[in-house]
């Protein structure tokens, strides 16, 4: 467990201080992603503290569980029971979220969870601001089915995110008559992907669906690029990699060649047009470095913290019920566009988009939903058989 003071965001004014827990594993196996999340949260926090419309200053209590599940419980208990905090922005993996929920229920705290996840959860002590499966999986499946076919090769990191994403993909392509389906897993942190690449080259699927995270994803993308060079007919146009996880910081490490031509589904891309996003990118670079890129992770944590501040301001108290009912009236102009929380399920209205990556490590967006999409964490309104029928609104203009 690591504790740190963030001098840049420690409030100095005479306004009331409200302590907010910031809990991300900025060390350990998924440190890179956690750092993006923490960066987004702290950027928003500094904006709130500099904004005269708020009657308070947010005081971050930053704790790093180091990717250790047991540390998550201990840290949450420390913040809520000993520290008396009510609100915590934190967690990336579902297993860490599941681990801390009982603590938040016991001490009546609110977890502001900023990551996209596999859905199928509702807890009154959690606000889910990341994308639900209907906002990240469904648009991607629909596009791949309509444009590339049903022979999906699924490769994922060996934990619930990969398992559940592949399960939905399997149901979907099976419904559309797929006879071939591949489902392969790589342990979190492993870079052993050669056998998988060999199998892909041999079996020639319609597309590869990746829910790999971290170093595994990068190793896979590099190996896939090498395989394409050895087999020039396997271009990204013929057999693309698609993902609902791929983001800019990862592409930056893959650029130029291995970054090119992948299809991604996300509610945020750095290339999203608009003033709010331009401000977000400028703020992010000013704070963390001119060469830094923003991502769906940093945006989600940024949004979460702004939503929290606005709900606190509206409620005039930290009490959960008051903050939640105030939150339901908050509309926030996020970098991706306007967002708000669905009072029915505490998940977030977000705007799904599809993009194709390029050699500069950015995404060219080729489809954006007309309006923010209602979150459907239990996929109640999902019909696999309808996915392939709908006329496609998008064109792969970038390719």
């Amino acid at each position: 467990m690591h504790t740190s003071e963030n001098t840049q965001t420690t409030p100095t004014s005479s306004k009331e201080k409200i302590s907010i827990g910031i809990v991300f594993s900025t060390t350990g196996p998924y440190a890179g992603i956690a750092q993006e999340l923490q960066n987004g949260a702290l950027l928003a926090l500094s904006e709130v503290n500099a904004d005269p419309q708020f009657d308070f200053q947010l005081d971050p209590v930053i704790l790093d569980p180091g990717g250790d599940l047991e540390a998550y419980q201990a840290i949450s208990r420390k913040l809520l029971k000993q520290g008396g905090l009510k609100h915590v922005v934190g967690c990336y993996t579902s297993s860490s979220r599941k681990e801390v929920i009982p603590v938040f229920e016991k001490y009546d705290g609110l977890l502001w969870y900023p990551s996209h996840y596999e859905g199928f959860e509702h807890c009154n002590n959690v606000i889910y601001t990341g994308a639900s499966p209907n906002q990240h999986m469904v648009p991607l499946m629909s596009h791949m089915l309509q444009h590339f076919g049903n022979r999906a090769y699924c490769v994922g990191s060996d934990y619930i995110w990969g398992w559940e994403s592949n399960r939905i993909m399997r149901e979907c392509v099976t419904e559309h008559g797929a006879r071939d389906f591949w489902e392969r897993y790589v342990p979190v942190g492993s870079v052993e992907v050669d056998k998988i690449i060999d199998e892909i080259v041999q079996s020639r699927p319609s597309y590869i669906f990746s829910s790999l995270i971290g170093v595994s994803s990068e190793a896979f993308m590099r190996a896939m690029q090498a395989a394409r060079q050895a087999n020039p007919e396997l271009t990204c146009n013929v057999m693309p990699v698609c993902s609902h996880t791929l983001s800019e910081p990862e592409l930056a490490r893959l650029a130029p060649d291995a970054a090119d031509g992948h299809i991604a589904s996300s509610v945020y891309f750095q290339s999203t047009p608009g003033e709010c996003n331009a401000r977000f990118i400028a703020g992010y670079r000013a704070r963390y470095g001119a060469d830094m890129v923003t991502s769906a992770n940093s945006e989600a944590a940024y949004n979460t913290t702004h939503l929290l501040a606005r709900a606190l301001q509206k409620a005039g108290t930290q009490e959960l019920d008051a903050v939640k009912s105030a939150l339901y009236d908050v509309r926030f102009d996020a970098p991706q566009g306007r967002i708000w929380i669905d009072p029915g399920n505490n998940h977030c209205f977000l705007t799904p988009a599809l993009a194709v990556s390029n050699t500069s490590g950015q995404f060219d967006i080729f489809h954006t939903c007309d309006a923010p999409m209602r979150p459907d964490p239990y996929l109640v309104d999902f019909d696999a058989h309808r996915l392939g029928d709908a006329p496609s609104p998008d064109e792969r203009a970038a390719q």
């Binding site: 929920i101 199928f120 509702h122 807890c123 009154n124 149901e171 239990y378 109640v380 999902f382």
Partner: protein, 223 residues
């Protein structure tokens, strides 16, 4: 066993037989999130399953007359909402043969899995019950089958296994159950049903009549 697809409860109709309060409110809200249409009733008497796909019931205050069916014979899946762990209450609850259980105080977590488990359990149970009925019917018909085997043996001078094999293959050919064929043979005391059944099988006016002739006869045989 066939794997179920994505569990989806959109427009599934649930009845909650439980007094109003926090537990009912949590349940109703979560069922709404899962896409179910929900009605609540309390007090309840002689509840009909008509118009519902699943029933949640209070295990703490429930009693047999609440339900319009024989104890343990619910025609749709039941999910017990248990608070008390008094042995008498657990015993009564078990008597209703619920397909899943939820422990009070209810929270949103667990309700989705309880629904998935309940529908799965009810489907498996229904299939097993049908199988048991079928096997029982065949067991009851056993003396008849033995009598027919004996008759075939004596008429054709073959051993009992050969006689049974013959009856089975004839039954399959005629698309009737072994038990039904044996019943016909035993009733007539001869092997003529082998011939008459074959003839009537070609009669378009009565091809299926014999299949509905009795509980033991409506499924073709197979060991």
């Amino acid at each position: 066993m066939k794997r179920r697809g994505l569990p989806n409860f959109r427009n599934v109709r649930a009845l909650i037989v439980h007094p109003p309060g926090d537990n009912s409110a949590v349940l109703t809200a979560q069922l709404g999130r899962l896409g179910l249409c929900t009605e609540s009733i309390w007090p309840a008497d002689n509840v009909s399953p008509e118009g519902y796909d699943v029933i949640f019931f209070d295990a703490d205050r429930g009693y047999d007359q609440q339900f319009g069916w024989e104890r343990g014979q619910a025609p749709i899946p039941l999910i017990a909402l248990m608070g008390s762990e008094a042995p008498g209450r657990i015993e009564w609850t078990l008597g209703q043969m619920p397909s899943a259980y939820l422990v009070k105080p209810l929270q949103p977590t667990g309700i989705f899995s309880a629904l998935v488990v309940a529908f799965h359990d009810f489907e498996v149970r229904t299939r097993l019950m049908r199988k048991v009925e079928d096997l029982n019917a065949r067991l009851r018909a056993r003396p008849t089958v033995v009598a027919a085997i004996t008759l075939v043996q004596s008429c054709m001078t073959i051993d009992s296994q050969a006689a049974y094999d013959l009856l089975r293959s004839e039954a399959m050919r005629l698309q009737v159950s072994v038990e039904f064929l044996c019943e016909q043979i035993e009733t007539t005391g001869s092997l003529t049903p082998l011939k008459t059944l074959a003839e009537s099988g070609t009669n378009p006016n009565s091809p299926n009549k014999r299949l509905g002739a009795g509980a033991s006869a409506n499924r073709t045989g197979g060991s």
